[in-house]
Symmetry: C2
Subunit: 213 residues, 2 copies
Amino acid sequence: MSVRISDSTVRRLSLYLRMLRGLRVRGVELVSSSELADRAGATSAQVRKDLSLFGSCGKRGRGYEVDALTGTIEEILGLSRVWRVALVGVGKIGTALLGYEDMLDRGFRVVAAFDIAPDKIGREIFGVTVSPLSEVESVVCEKGVEIAIIATPPATAPEVAVMLSEAGVGAILNFAPTRISEIDYVPVRTVDLVLELEGLSYLLTSRRRNGDD
Amino acid sequence: MSVRISDSTVRRLSLYLRMLRGLRVRGVELVSSSELADRAGATSAQVRKDLSLFGSCGKRGRGYEVDALTGTIEEILGLSRVWRVALVGVGKIGTALLGYEDMLDRGFRVVAAFDIAPDKIGREIFGVTVSPLSEVESVVCEKGVEIAIIATPPATAPEVAVMLSEAGVGAILNFAPTRISEIDYVPVRTVDLVLELEGLSYLLTSRRRNGDD
DNA sequence: CTTGGCTTGTGAATACTTTCACAAGCCAGA
DNA sequence: TCTGGCTTGTGAAAGTATTCACAAGCCAAG
């Protein structure tokens, strides 16, 4: 049955979904591929290709039904439910993430937090109690954690990733500027701020080199 | 002269650079494409292709000189200097970013911060004084800001981006979960946490659907 | 100086993505 | 019912990126 959907398509589907939810709130019922494209920064052909991957649901001459399409994409991406998330590393960034409302709004609820610093353990931050990292296994199991976010210093990130996979976490979002390789088929995505800044640095530099055009 | 280097290659170059710096600190003098590949999660052929884009510098039979290669990649990416960065939106995430040492370590110094909340303006956070957003133009000019990070709520991000481009900022890193289109050739990169989580959600869901293999 | 082991640099081949372009189909209005 | 304007769905083409595979070159040891 299921088609393999490429990474870049999945990213775009997320974007479309965000637009669609906005349209739904505003009571819009139909949307054309070109409207979606404009809002998501793609082309209309791309939108149609993406949506046609899962036997599509548009109406020729009219466009796509916002409501139905929202549901379909939520289904595909697995977003018609709430995911239980754990956060490891309650430093500056970790704490900020704990209070990031957008995550909960979009279906990711932080149900556990871990750290090693004794003065943080036991404290409740934004409604979540910080547990000692040593209890990862039991807490992950008990709270049914499915996805973990690593926000520790880079040096400890890889070993934390191992602990998390062993504890039964299904996927990892890594915020530390370190590469973490997939362990035991647990997928890892890394969000690396500095990497993005370096990309911008390249663009600015190469532009300057080539005389600003 | 200059070859256009693709986005994915630039990302990998950043990764290689990180590895190389680590190796240099440890006193390693030579590294082979396959060692670099292992550490950066690529293949050795890929590493060689990437490095050959700018008339390469490896020695057959031996590998690449860590020192020279580090310098070359820094040069290409524009990282042999410190970039002046501004941060807009000193909320939870903005504050965390202000204190993110890794940024300075890797050549990005935050020299200005902006917000609209009266109780934040004038306060000094991690050594940076928060200015009112209305003064973007003068402060950006005065402090020579080259790159701006947007960490405002999503609704205000697009207008902030316009203000920043008009103020003369060269590139924007957007942390708000909103698409910002390129304004006036100012490149924009968006880091979207929830988008990444949704990607993981898709992987977990599709895997479950296809029976875990 | 020659041999052998290793590693680069690179064309050619493969795989993947995006764009094009147009037939098929829908709807509203006459 | 028929026509015209619009939008989808999709093969085929074009464009990118990655992998293969191997000649060219280096070094160390004998």
